[in-house]
């Protein structure tokens, strides 16, 4: 079997659809998912001449939807896809990763990647079925919330259809709008829903037909069974399957590291512990080919909440009642908002009000911690761009409407609000990670979670390749562990795997490069060694660095929120910890050295040439 990546280029302005295959050289170099999306994003941004001239909400911004190389096969936890574009939230690289069932259906309908250009004249959606793409008028769907729109599409096109949709937030180009599939699965980060809305695109609907062809079915099946057994024997997989990510809340809270009231405080109520959330759970759900089952179906009509949502719509806003936080979770999902950005921006606004940096004339009324009704209404107003919500709908860019001092209280990096509710001042590797993450302040790019494990020296050497300082609160060797995490998470995203089965994310075990190489060979016939697979991860990180550099970013942008440098944590075990500015710069030096970048954080010329030679393959006729 010759493995081919089936790509469709849809121009919504002209209604033209072009079917092509991604050149083999690119597939070898980037695999799929996030990696190939980044190659295409660099291609289209550079093709515009000056990438900075591409308006994130304009027709020239490409919206790239790419399934992972293994997505939809029987490989463990191979459900995921990436949506990429220039981000309207941060202005830099936008890339969001999502699970659920959509990507498998997209592949089974005949497409591994969609590149959506232009802007439809009227609200539209794409229907993918049996290797064809139809551009369908969506007037009747425009205005619907996430769940209603998907139900409607399923009713129109049959029970086998799966949709990725935007809600009211995406339609109004709210800069933190998500693309949603199912009740909760979100391509949340960076405002990809706003890009979709700017194109007048309500949904992409896929009806999967044929099974995804693999090179060696029996071998892949044997690998699945073996790896599934290993994963299910893992305690972290068992616990995630029982209570999901809310288990992390108590860990962070007990430590004194849960972002509370916009990181003015660092611990909160026990009402958001996993056992309290569990009281509202009907059952646990799974994504395509999942062996973990970490997603809750809750009793309030939605799915979730995840740890991030609990922290950022709970502790970060001073809201303690469990049912209220779950209701807010369901609301942001149904409106199509990114929960992490929404919670962070609301917390920021509340602190600005508390400090009298903004007042009722700006906010339209009191904005105080723990006021559930006010938060609920304000979330609606953000999605519909009403009143003060219209200001907050600009996400970090709302700073331009506030006094200059407002920026001092914004918990964001590179224009992206921090995703994880964990206060990073204590764990220095985590702090470095969010400072250098390519899409802005985000834990899913490179969080070196093994920091918290008391791993023996020999285990740490076997993972990271050399001895390293195990102290998570120190500054030594953090470049090494963040770079290692960068690379393996990038490969995971290229393959469409879930990080909950990836080595290093929650455990020193689980699926590493060797497992992944075996899966790739069985599914596609392509051979990789663990070393060559890690090289793919390095190439993806370098490509992302080049994209951001072309958008004007430099070393100065690899930084942290002011509070993380200047204000010590106030209580519990982490009391007194902050990130020292001088030591932080030393960590950056270490990190750049690990990546092979120069002292200013620039990718070396040789690598730039190599990447651009590969990406240039997309310039060939019929190879875009």
């Amino acid at each position: 079997m010759d493995f081919q990546v089936r790509t469709a280029i849809v121009n919504l302005t002209t209604s033209e659809v072009e079917f092509t295959h991604t050149p083999d050289v690119l597939v070898r170099a980037y695999l799929g998912g996030r990696g190939l999306n980044m190659a295409y994003l660099r291609h289209y941004l550079c093709r515009a001449g000056d990438p900075r001239a591409v308006d994130p909400l304009g027709p020239d911004n490409p919206l790239i939807i790419g399934a992972g190389m293994l997505t939809g096969t029987i490989a463990p936890n191979a459900a995921r896809f990436n949506i990429s574009a220039r981000s309207p939230e941060s202005g830099i690289l936008g890339d969001s990763n999502c699970g659920g069932f959509f990507a498998a259906a997209m592949r089974k309908a005949g497409f591994d990647r969609l590149i959506i250009l232009g802007r439809a004249e009227r609200p539209s959606y794409l229907l993918l079925v049996d290797h064809t793409i139809h551009i369908v008028e969506a007037d009747g769907l425009w205005g619907m919330r996430v769940i209603e729109a998907q139900d409607q599409l399923k009713g129109l096109h049959g029970p086998g259809t799966v949709s990725a949709v935007i809600g009211p937030a995406g339609e109004r180009q709210v800069r933190m709008a998500a693309v949603m599939t199912g009740k909760k699965n979100a391509a949340g980060r960076g405002g990809m829903g706003a890009v979709m809305g700017s194109k007048n695109l309500k949904a992409v609907v896929a009806r999967g037909g044929e099974a995804i062809a693999v090179a060696q079915h029996d071998t892949l099946r044997a690998l699945r069974l073996k790896q599934q057994a290993e994963l299910k024997a893992s305690k972290v997989v068992q616990v995630l399957g029982r209570v999901g990510t809310p288990l992390l809340y108590e860990v962070s809270n007990r430590l004194g590291a849960i972002r509370t009231r916009n990181s003015q405080d660092n611990y909160f109520e026990d009402t958001l512990n996993a056992e309290e959330i569990e009281k509202y759970v009907d059952k646990m759900l799974a994504c395509t080919s999942c062996v973990v089952h970490c997603r809750h179906q809750n009793k309030l009509g939605g799915e979730g909440p995840e740890y991030s949502t609990i922290g950022l719509l709970g502790a970060n806003l001073g809201i303690a009642p469990t049912d209220q936080v779950i209701a807010l979770n369901n609301l942001v999902n149904d409106l199509g908002l990114d929960a992490s950005s929404t919670g962070t921006i609301l917390g920021w606004a509340m602190e600005l009000y508390q400090r009298e940096i903004i007042d009722n004339a700006v906010t339209g009324g009191p904005l105080v911690w723990g006021d559930y009704e006010r938060v609920r209404n304000l979330i609606e107003d953000i999605a519909y761009r009403h009143g003060f919500g219209n200001v907050l709908a600009e996400s970090t860019q709302a700073a331009r409407y506030f006094p200059d001092t407002a920026k001092d209280y914004l918990i964001a990096v590179k224009g992206l609000p921090q995703s994880d509710p964990h206060d990073v001042r204590y764990l220095k590797g985590f702090a470095l990670g969010i400072a250098v993450a390519s899409r802005g302040a985000d834990h899913l790019r490179n969080r070196p979670t093994l920091e918290v494990f008391k791993l023996p020296d020999e285990v740490r050497v076997s993972i990271y390749g050399r001895a390293n300082d195990p102290d998570p609160t120190g500054y030594k060797d953090k470049g090494l562990i963040v770079a290692w995490s960068d690379d393996i998470y990038a490969v995971t995203d290229c393959l469409g795997l879930c990080k909950f089965v990836t080595q290093g994310f929650n455990s020193p075990h689980l699926l590493g490069y060797e497992h992944m190489s075996d899966l790739i060979a069985a599914a596609t016939g392509l051979e990789y060694t663990p070393e060559s697979l890690r090289e793919v991860g390095r190439r993806v990180i370098d490509t992302e660095r080049l994209i951001n550099a072309s958008l004007g970013l430099s070393r100065a942008d690899d930084t942290l929120p002011k509070r993380y440098f200047d204000e010590p944590m106030p209580a519990r075990n982490t009391k007194g910890h902050h990130v020292d500015r001088v030591q932080f710069q030393m960590m950056l030096d270490d990190y750049y050295a690990e990546r092979g970048w120069d002292a200013d954080g620039r990718v070396c010329a040789e690598r730039v040439d190599e990447i651009d030679a590969v990406v240039a393959m997309l310039d060939a006729p019929n190879s875009r």
Binding site: K235, L248, V251, R254, E275, H443, V452, N506, R572
Partner: protein, 83 residues
């Protein structure tokens, strides 16, 4: 002396309850308490061996040689991160 122990997810499920009380000798170290837990709650022993807990006395992280005092509250938290 007596100490109060609060178990986090997933330890408490193995023990069957969230909060435990333990009578131990004066001057006992954290390591002694963990040994006592293994003896008193065999189902918990496996989980403790599989993943050494992060332990806090009141609000401060404790080491295995930390000496505990009468009436103190010990929290055993599972070492996990990343969500």
């Amino acid at each position: 002396m007596q100490i109060q122990i609060q178990l986090s997810e997933p330890y408490w499920r193995a023990a069957g309850k969230r909060n435990l009380e333990l009578d131990i000798e004066e001057g006992a170290r954290l390591a002694d308490v963990l040994d006592a837990l293994r003896r008193g709650w065999p189902a918990l022993s496996h989980d403790l061996d599989e993943a050494s807990p992060v332990c806090f006395v009141e609000e401060i992280q404790a080491q295995t040689d930390t000496i505990l005092s009468d009436g103190c509250q010990l929290h055993l938290v599972w070492p996990v991160a990343g969500g």
